[in-house]
């Protein structure tokens, strides 16, 4: 049995200090380098996808359960802030809350039967769930505008509508910070320990009295809430939404962010999201080869930094300073 990186879970207070304080500093200082609204937009996108990836990371990295349909919950969040105001006369903020509630409910109902499955079967079932939602968003044109998508009205906070990417940078970044704190709380709690036990040996966890199905369902619902919040933010930032938000490719992108950044690494979710959001922008220069280059980079990371970017780099750093 090889030496495994259990140290990444050590002491909650340390982790909090080591990851949250520098993160807050980065969030505060980064805008100093932003020379245009475009930078705010890209940074906001990074944090929005990082929120969804963080939720998925709790499911994959800590509980060891895969979801290939997680963008489906982003879709629920996104379409809630679009459909609520357009068709139901609900203003954006309550629509956002409604989206979270619907995602919770859907995750509960869908998760119960799906999470009985394991490994490849679970992957295919969650994939099916994501595809199902994408098809629904595409076909229910009278509600969703079909493949052309629909306009999302601005969210108003304290009577002022939030226009442009800057407010969304601050909102998504601080939400990520809160999300990371909550994730750290969970990991160091009785539920978190049970989930990590399930990851390593389901049979042992069960024999210690852990209600395995119940714990998996809880974390699936938590992950769905993170994705729903991210989806709503994405729709509000873009003021526009298409079924692409919950496409299979988006789900795969989320999984790639988790794996690239580092499974079970909370700041890693941010790193993974940054790589997959910023790289395509940076590679736009090579427009024809953009996807090829992206694929190549992702493959290289997986081959050379198998544990994900952040855990691998931290480990190498720790080795050097021993």
């Amino acid at each position: 049995m090889s030496v495994l990186p259990a140290d990444r879970f050590r002491g909650l207070p340390q982790q909090r200090l080591f990851s949250l304080v520098p993160l807050a500093a980065i969030i505060l200082l980064m805008p100093l380098m932003f020379s245009s609204a475009y930078y705010y937009r890209v940074a906001a996108l990074v944090f929005i996808f990082a929120i969804a990836a963080l939720g998925l990371n709790l499911l994959m990295g800590f509980a060891g359960q895969v979801s290939l349909g997680h963008a489906g919950f982003m879709g629920i969040g996104a379409y809630s802030v679009a459909i609520g105001p357009a068709h139901l006369g609900i203003s954006p903020l309550p629509s956002f809350v409604l989206g979270v509630m619907i995602s919770t409910l859907v995750a509960f109902v869908v998760g119960r039967p799906i999470l009985r499955l394991k490994g490849h079967y679970l992957a295919v079932a969650t994939l099916g769930f994501g595809v199902l939602l994408a098809v629904a968003f595409t076909n229910e044109a009278s509600w969703t505008g079909g493949p052309d998508g629909m306009i999302v009205p601005h969210l108003a906070l304290l009577g002022r509508p939030l226009r442009g990417p800057e407010p969304w940078y601050w909102i998504s970044a601080s939400t990520f910070l809160v999300g990371a704190a909550v994730a750290l709380n969970l990991i160091a709690s009785p539920t978190g320990r049970a989930l990590r036990g399930i990851h390593d040996s389901e049979i042992a966890a069960r024999m210690l009295g852990v209600d395995v199905a119940g714990k998996k369902l809880i974390i699936f619902v938590v992950a769905a809430v993170y994705a729903s919040v991210a989806g709503s933010y994405l729709a509000l930032l873009n003021s526009y939404i298409t079924p692409d938000v919950s496409s299979f490719l988006r789900s795969i992108e989320l999984v790639a962010m988790v794996v690239l950044g580092g499974m079970g690494s909370i700041p890693g979710s941010l790193v993974g999201s940054a790589v997959l959001v910023i790289l395509p922008q940076a590679l736009a220069f090579f427009h024809d080869y953009e996807h090829m280059m992206l694929g190549l980079i992702v493959m290289s990371v997986m081959i050379f930094l198998r544990r994900g970017i952040l855990p691998s780099v931290t480990a190498a750093f720790a080795q050097r300073h021993k």
């Binding site: 090889s2 259990a6 978190g192 049970a194 990590r196 036990g197 049979i203 042992a204 024999m207 009295g209």
Partner: protein, 262 residues
């Protein structure tokens, strides 16, 4: 009073009757060993008792209650714990965290409190860690508490698994071949650990191939062969039982083998 009863337990895989009408009764507070040649059905019997397999016939009583077919986590919450022949530790967690999972059935915090790290969770974590540390102490590896479990040596992993099971404060502890792969020194230490466990009033059910360990610490021994009960009794009774000697050494044992059986 008996804490664990097996009544007429049977299970078949394909045509093979892995466990065939096995009955026994485990009185409280003793070491009860189940022995038998390879393939006798010992581990299958453990799997039935601990809820991993559903018997085709017969039932299991735990503290007088019919628990046949209950899921392992339900049995665990009633006070049944087990270790595994092929270790089932949590390698990515530290040693103490492994044992802290063992406290799960005594932990009482809700998901909302867990997500918000409310004071009640902090207090729970402190109590859980304390109890886990004590359990590590009982098997003598408290010095390794903060080490990643995946980096511990084999003998220590076996102790860790016992500590984790003990942390759940079981009424009955099932140990599946705890001495497998241990050297004589480690086996002797294991014997002391098991004596210590029984000393605190926990009933131990042991499946083991190391006959010296079994003969030394068992109050009662149940012998299986080909899925059936061959004999049951004290160490002295089992050792001299002709059927047991036959099962272990063949029908016409050589003189050498008989003397080895002692």
């Amino acid at each position: 009073m008996s804490v664990l009863n097996a009544e007429h337990l049977s299970i078949a895989f394909g045509g093979l009757r892995a466990v065939d009408a096995v009955s026994f009764e485990v009185p409280s507070g003793i070491v009860f060993s189940i022995i038998g040649p390879n393939g006798a059905g010992k581990t299958t019997l453990f799997n039935i008792i601990s809820g991993q397999c559903m018997p085709h016939d017969g039932y299991v009583r735990f503290c007088g209650e019919d628990v046949t077919g209950l899921a392992p986590d339900q049995l665990a919450r009633r006070g049944l714990a087990r270790t595994f022949q092929n270790l089932q530790i949590f390698p990515q967690m530290t040693a103490i965290e492994n044992v802290m999972v063992g406290r799960h059935r005594h932990e009482a915090t809700g998901i909302i409190a867990d997500l918000l790290h409310l004071p009640v969770v902090r207090e729970q974590n402190r109590r859980t860690r304390e109890a886990a540390m004590e359990a590590l102490g009982r098997v003598g590896i408290e010095a390794m508490a903060e080490r990643p479990a995946g980096s511990l040596a084999y003998g220590n992993l076996k102790r860790l698994e016992i500590a984790r099971a003990l942390a759940s404060e079981p009424t009955v502890l099932l140990l599946d071949e705890p001495a497998a792969g241990c050297n004589p020194v480690e086996t002797a230490e294991l014997e002391n650990i098991i004596r210590g466990i029984v000393g605190t009033g926990v009933t131990v059910v042991l499946v083991e191939h190391d006959m010296r360990l079994v003969m030394n610490i068992s109050h009662r021994i149940h012998v299986l062969a080909n899925g059936r009960t061959l004999a049951e009794g004290t160490a002295a009774e089992v050792r001299t039982n002709p059927a047991v000697i036959d099962a272990y050494l063949g029908v016409n044992p050589s003189r050498e083998a008989v003397s080895a059986a002692g």
